[in-house]
């Protein structure tokens, strides 16, 4: 049996194995729980641990002192009949025909490690890093989601917003495990639109109720859908089609533009404009930016360069794929180590060719990057040509200039 045969057989067998979408949200929640168990209640001061949290979950609650609450009060009544006019000093953010009028001073996704740091709307966010941080006092936020309600949700009451039934989970407050104080939260879910609004406040309980009173139903305009969930389903290349279908279902037109992103599946969504949550009239054209179809083998691999000084200096510096393809220059000191690595198709064929004498191959043959790892042994300039091999032929990815001084 030759290598090619076996790889081919395994690829064919693997292709027949159906795989569901990545349960990213669940992974993030698990990581956060794991972190919380590990850190315990006593280690509040260190913000060094890096873990992952779900956006907008506000799992780390804020300290509570007693500042004057920065209450902003758009005068929108929850049961007010739908009107297109936006109250002065507010902007509309929504999904489907459900929107909320938030103060114009509020940002969008102004979070750090998943925790709001300013008054903000949280909408259509993917995975983000998290750290031991806390929600500052007096911070108000609302998270919009479409589809199943996130968090534990149980309707305590049902009311009416703009003629649609709306399930309301009562506002509750949770003491912070980090410091004195609490964050209060409450949720409204509109079943007919499958849209939920979760308001959170480290100001006070009344602010949560006030935020939720800003929700309204606007039959004449519609929110630009988010795209993160489309990206997280498989096959990835169908994300574009999933988004286009969702946007058209809302009555929107979609214009698709493409960008090259090596090693990422064609059709993976990079951006949507206007930004998700923007309320627009039906028929509005939404611009969807997706990963382009590869034009050749070079587009199917992503290459990076990294380097580090002698010993455990941890002074990493590197070049990313764009910089490598643009022919960037990297400066090293004598004794530094530099290596290149790849993700995507044909990454095992990655190779580097030197034109110059300032680099020599790293003799660490057991290293994961051998033989495309080098040591800066003397001053000078070396040109490093990075290639992969496709169909037996070298394919140039980029030429990097390495200056050793």
């Amino acid at each position: 049996m030759i290598d090619h045969d076996l790889s081919d057989l395994l690829e064919r067998a693997a292709d027949r194995i159906p795989v569901g979408p990545p349960p990213l949200d669940d992974v993030l929640v698990q990581a956060t729980r794991h972190r919380r168990r590990r850190t315990g209640a006593a280690m509040m001061s260190s913000a060094a641990a890096v873990v992952v949290a779900m956006v907008g979950s506000a799992l780390l609650l804020s300290p509570n002192s007693t500042p004057p609450p920065p209450v902003v009060t758009p005068s929108v009544a929850a049961t007010q009949p739908s009107v297109a006019a936006t109250p002065p000093g507010t902007r509309l953010v929504g999904l489907g025909q459900a929107a909320i009028a938030v103060p114009v001073t509020w940002g969008t996704n102004e979070t750090l490690c998943g925790t709001p740091k300013q008054d903000t709307v949280v909408i259509d966010v993917g995975a983000i890093g998290a750290c031991l941080t806390s929600r500052p006092e007096g911070i108000d936020s609302v998270e919009l989601t479409q589809g199943p309600v996130r968090f534990d949700f149980a309707a305590d009451t049902t009311s009416d917003i703009g003629g649609l039934p709306a399930d309301r989970q009562a506002t509750t407050c949770t003491a912070s495990p980090l410091e004195q104080g609490s964050t209060c939260y409450g949720t409204i879910f509109i079943p007919s639109l499958a849209v939920s609004f979760r308001a959170e406040s480290s100001t006070d309980k009344a602010t949560v109720d006030e935020i939720l009173s800003w929700i309204r139903i606007l039959p004449d305009i519609v929110g630009v859908p988010g795209y993160q969930s489309a990206n997280l389903q498989t096959p990835q290349g169908d994300a574009r089609d999933r988004y286009v279908a969702a946007a058209r279902a809302e009555g929107l037109e979609v214009r698709v533009v493409t960008e090259k992103r090596p090693a990422i599946d064609a059709g993976f969504i990079l951006d949507v404009s206007p930004e998700p949550g923007t309320m627009v009239p039906p028929g509005t054209e939404v611009t969807l930016t997706v990963v382009a179809e590869p034009e050749g083998p070079a587009d199917e691999v992503r290459v990076d360069i990294n380097s580090v000084g002698p010993g455990d200096s941890m002074d990493y510096q590197g070049l990313d794929d764009d910089q490598i393809r643009a022919g960037a220059t990297i400066e090293l000191g004598v004794g530094d180590r530099i290596w290149t690595y790849a993700m995507g198709k044909r990454s095992p064929t990655l190779a580097g060719e030197l034109d110059g004498t300032s680099l020599t191959i790293d003799p660490w043959t057991k290293g994961p990057n051998y033989p495309h790892s080098w040591i800066a042994t003397k001053e000078g300039t070396t040109r490093l040509t990075i290639t992969i091999t496709a169909d037996g032929q070298p394919v140039k990815i980029g030429v990097v200039t390495v200056v050793v001084s």
Partner: protein
């Protein structure tokens, strides 16, 4: 934010391959997704280490293999409760007679060590050196395990048939 984007892109681009690797290692598809989910969770808790790793794929595969070997020692008890059930997937029932099934049955004839190096080398496309790093063994051991595994697979009539049709 670059790190956040890296993480999202990494999970999005690697999920399918990792799950299929786990199936080729011997998991059922459902258990494979659980296994990869747990492995990714462990990676995310120490994502800074993953970022600093010279080779992310090798690092993540090491975590996956460790998760798998650990589960084999104590049976699989690593499932985590989640709020929503994942979308269920299953092998195509016609697979009992198709190529994929034949390959999986051939892999099942190998012992675990041999099967692992075959999957890492020929499906995950790690080099022998990377495989050695992942498994914490000498490159020579990888070579010898691969050699024995390939000899067994070469004698497998089912695979011989498949090679003839490829």
């Amino acid at each position: 934010m670059r790190r956040n984007e890296d993480f999202s892109e990494y999970v999005a681009s690697r999920w399918v391959g990792l799950v299929r690797s786990a199936v080729l290692l011997g998991c059922s598809p459902a258990k494979a997704e659980d296994m990869v989910q747990t492995a990714l969770m462990r990676c995310l808790v120490s994502w800074s280490k993953v970022e600093r790793a010279d080779d992310r794929d090798a690092y993540v595969h090491r975590v996956l293999i460790n998760t798998f070997t650990s589960s084999r020692r104590r049976r699989w008890t690593g499932e985590r409760t989640v709020e929503r059930l994942p979308e269920l997937t299953s092998l195509d029932e016609t697979g009992a007679v198709d190529d994929a099934d034949a390959v999986l049955r051939s892999l099942a004839r190998l012992n675990f060590d041999q099967r692992t190096v075959v999957v890492l080398r020929y499906y995950a496309h790690l080099t022998e050196l990377q495989s050695a790093e992942v498994l914490g063994i000498a490159p020579g051991t990888v070579k010898s395990r691969l050699s024995r595994a390939l000899a067994l697979l070469a004698d497998d009539p089912q695979l011989a048939d498949l090679r003839g049709t490829s």
